[in-house]
């Protein structure tokens, strides 16, 4: 076998032949010196970039189709729904009590508030609003405010991490873990509590709860001093947050924004103050309101709300009365265990209660609470059976996400990260 002395006609010249063919075949592009003059210019047309649905800088799974001009976003199409678990369809087949575990999985960072919202909607239909024992109302406020703290700590910690402040993330999640441990002692579960019941709460606070919560709050105050010291006047953090994703007050109202996002834009709306429920009128707290409506204001509003929640919790611990934790109404309350096992009437009542569900009179009601992200409402239609005819959740994350494409318009791709972080889209709540 003799080696060919001359290369075949049309073959690339020897030397860099292998590397060039690799580039053309595998990478599909040429070296710059091989391009013609017209090809060397950057293409003037817009480019479409797909972000998500599983992106490390996204909270939850959401997909954004970005149209970019260079690195500037000129159009964005947000696609939610990757975490859709049919909350509303499943609820129509569950008894009113069985819906509580589903609500845990809506906003899984603050499940207690969802529990309270659902319970309040059903209680409104049954005419129980305002007739709950005061201890039950106080317990609900306490667990709701603990949940609000965990929600804000997660939001702020994760956003700080995405902007490079990893230490703050660890500090805040350490503090969140203390509260999760406390809620585990209260409810028996770390994350999906299912603690609240229609007409009250499932069990009383554990012994020594007051001392443990007080200790927790003292430590959280210290953690927040650390976190604020690292973030508030951090140049990188402020440059990435201030002036980014700003929203006017009028836009915030018209697009249905609520909670910290609307308050950062100057909308003085807090369900706890404007439509007071439970025992919130009996505690003192302030509603922080921002001015610029940008990401930095959203951060500051959440920080201030953390402090106000701690203030509410301290008042609740001193004001909480003794007494029953469930309303004394045979329609919603299970009979005592001793009676269930010893009398046939209570046994039947217990059985009917569990199997048929709580009989809610026909009608419809919308009840709403201040969730971690704003007005969280449940619109329930009952047809008189033990199962809801329709259960709709007004999830603030879904409404806030609908503004995202407008907020990121005109910003750089890198700004998507802080804007999404401060929108605090919780996949479970947004996708239902």
């Amino acid at each position: 076998m003799a080696a060919p002395s001359t290369p075949p006609v049309g073959a690339p010249p020897p030397g860099d032949a292998s590397s060039r063919s690799l580039k053309q075949l595998v990478l599909g592009r040429k070296d710059v010196q091989d391009l013609s003059d017209t090809e060397q210019e950057l293409p003037p047309d817009l480019m479409t970039v797909n972000m998500g649905p599983s992106h490390p800088a996204m909270h939850g799974t959401v997909r954004i189709v970005l149209t970019v001009d260079g690195e500037r976003i000129v159009a964005a199409d947000v696609h939610p729904g990757y975490l859709h678990r049919c909350f509303e369809k499943e609820s129509e087949y569950a008894t009113f009590t069985q819906v509580f575990p589903y609500t845990d999985r809506l906003n899984y960072v603050s499940p207690m508030i969802n529990n309270c919202g659902w319970a309040m909607a059903v209680e409104k239909l049954m005419g129980l609003t305002g007739h709950l024992p005061r201890r039950a109302e106080y317990i609900r406020v306490i667990v709701s405010e603990i949940s609000r703290i965990t929600d804000h700590l997660t939001c702020l910690g994760a956003s700080a991490m995405e902007l490079g402040a990893f230490a703050v993330f660890l500090f805040f999640l350490k503090a969140r873990e203390w509260l999760y441990e406390l809620l585990e002692k209260v409810s028996g579960a770390r994350l999906t509590h299912s603690y609240v019941r229609i007409g009250g709460v499932s069990k009383d606070l554990p012994p020594n709860f007051h001392a443990e919560l007080t200790l927790c709050l003292d430590q959280i105050v210290k953690v927040m001093v650390e976190g604020e010291g690292l973030l508030n006047n951090n140049k990188i953090f402020r440059d990435r947050m201030a002036g980014i994703g700003a929203m006017t007050k009028e836009d915030a109202i018209a697009t249905g924004c609520v909670g910290p996002i609307a308050r950062a834009a100057g909308v003085d709306y807090d369900v706890r103050k404007d439509y007071p429920y439970s025992v919130y009128p009996e505690v003192e707290f302030d509603v922080p309101v921002g001015t610029t409506g940008d990401c930095y204001d959203r951060y500051l509003v959440r920080i201030e709300e953390l402090k106000q929640s701690i203030r509410i919790l301290r008042q609740c611990l001193t004001q909480i009365p003794d007494g029953p934790i469930m309303v004394d109404d045979p329609r919603v309350t299970l009979p005592p265990k001793a009676a269930t096992y010893n009398t046939i009437e209570s046994m039947i009542r217990h059985f009917k209660h569990i199997v048929d569900g709580i009989k809610v009179p026909a009608g419809e009601a919308y009840a709403f609470v201040e969730g971690g992200n704003g007005e969280l409402g449940f619109y329930v239609v009952a047809d008189g059976t033990g199962r809801p005819y329709k259960a709709y959740v007004r999830s603030p994350s879904f409404v806030h996400l609908s503004t995202a494409s407008k907020l990121i318009h005109g910003h750089l791709i890198a700004d998507v990260v802080p804007i999404f972080g401060m929108i605090n889209m919780i996949g479970g709540e947004c996708d239902k």
Binding site: H79, P80, G81, H84, C86, E88, K89, E90, E92, Y93, K124, L125, G127, I253, A254, T255, G256, V267, Y269, D274, Y275, K359, V360, P361, A362, G363, E364, A365, Y366, E375, G377, Y379, V381, D383, G384, T385, Y389, K390, Y392, R394, F398, V399, L401, S402, D431, K432
Partner: protein, 196 residues
């Protein structure tokens, strides 16, 4: 507070309002479908109403509505909706909840939509928040909103057949987008004709 809103609404748009009711303190106004947009515009712009903040938009499917344990007092649906021209009870109710940030009152607008003509005027032009909420309602109930800027499915994929929150959609039905051998179901035909 809710009665005041309903009285003003009836005084200003008496012929467009089919029925008003208050349930558990929530004011509800049934608006005729062809005048929903006019009533909504008035509610937003009138200074005494000033419903500037949208809360939610959804739909109710009354296909198998058989209420039990109806509380005493004014009748709830379907007695309250017997006003439709053809006499039949409409299957769908489009629901809008509004809030006023200045007056702090709330109002629920309802509009009866029959099954054979499942369309309703879009209010997304008045309140931008309803753009996504109406898309969600379209996705789940199949209500087609007239003059909606971008009526697409929002949670589900475009190949999905049917509307899952309708009462006649079986809860156990599965429509996987990719073939799954554990489900006894034909793969979905994509719009381009091929099977996935």
């Amino acid at each position: 507070m809710s009665a005041k809103v309903l009285d003003a609404l009836k005084a200003a748009h008496g012929d467009a309002i089919a029925f008003v009711e208050t349930q558990h303190g929530d004011a509800i106004a049934w608006v005729k479908r062809d005048q929903l947009l006019a009533v909504a515009t008035w509610l937003k712009t009138d200074p005494a109403m000033a419903f500037d903040a949208p809360v939610f938009a959804t739909c109710i499917d009354r296909l198998d509505w058989k209420p039990q344990h109806v509380p005493p007092g004014p009748q709830v649906y379907p007695a309250s909706a017997a006003w439709t021209d053809d006499g039949a009870h409409p299957r769908f109710e489009v629901v809008y909840q509004l809030r006023s940030s200045t007056h702090k009152h709330r109002l629920r607008l309802k509009c009866a939509v029959p099954e054979h003509d499942a369309r309703s005027p879009s209010l997304a032009g008045l309140w931008p928040a309803f753009e996504w909420q109406e898309r969600e309602t379209f996705d789940m109930y199949g209500i087609k909103y007239d003059n909606h800027p971008d009526l697409r499915r929002i949670y589900l994929y475009e190949e999905f057949v049917g509307y899952p929150l309708r009462k006649d959609y079986p809860k156990e039905k599965r429509q996987p987008l990719v073939r799954r051998d554990d489900l006894p179901m034909n793969p979905i035909k994509s719009p381009t004709g091929g099977h996935r």
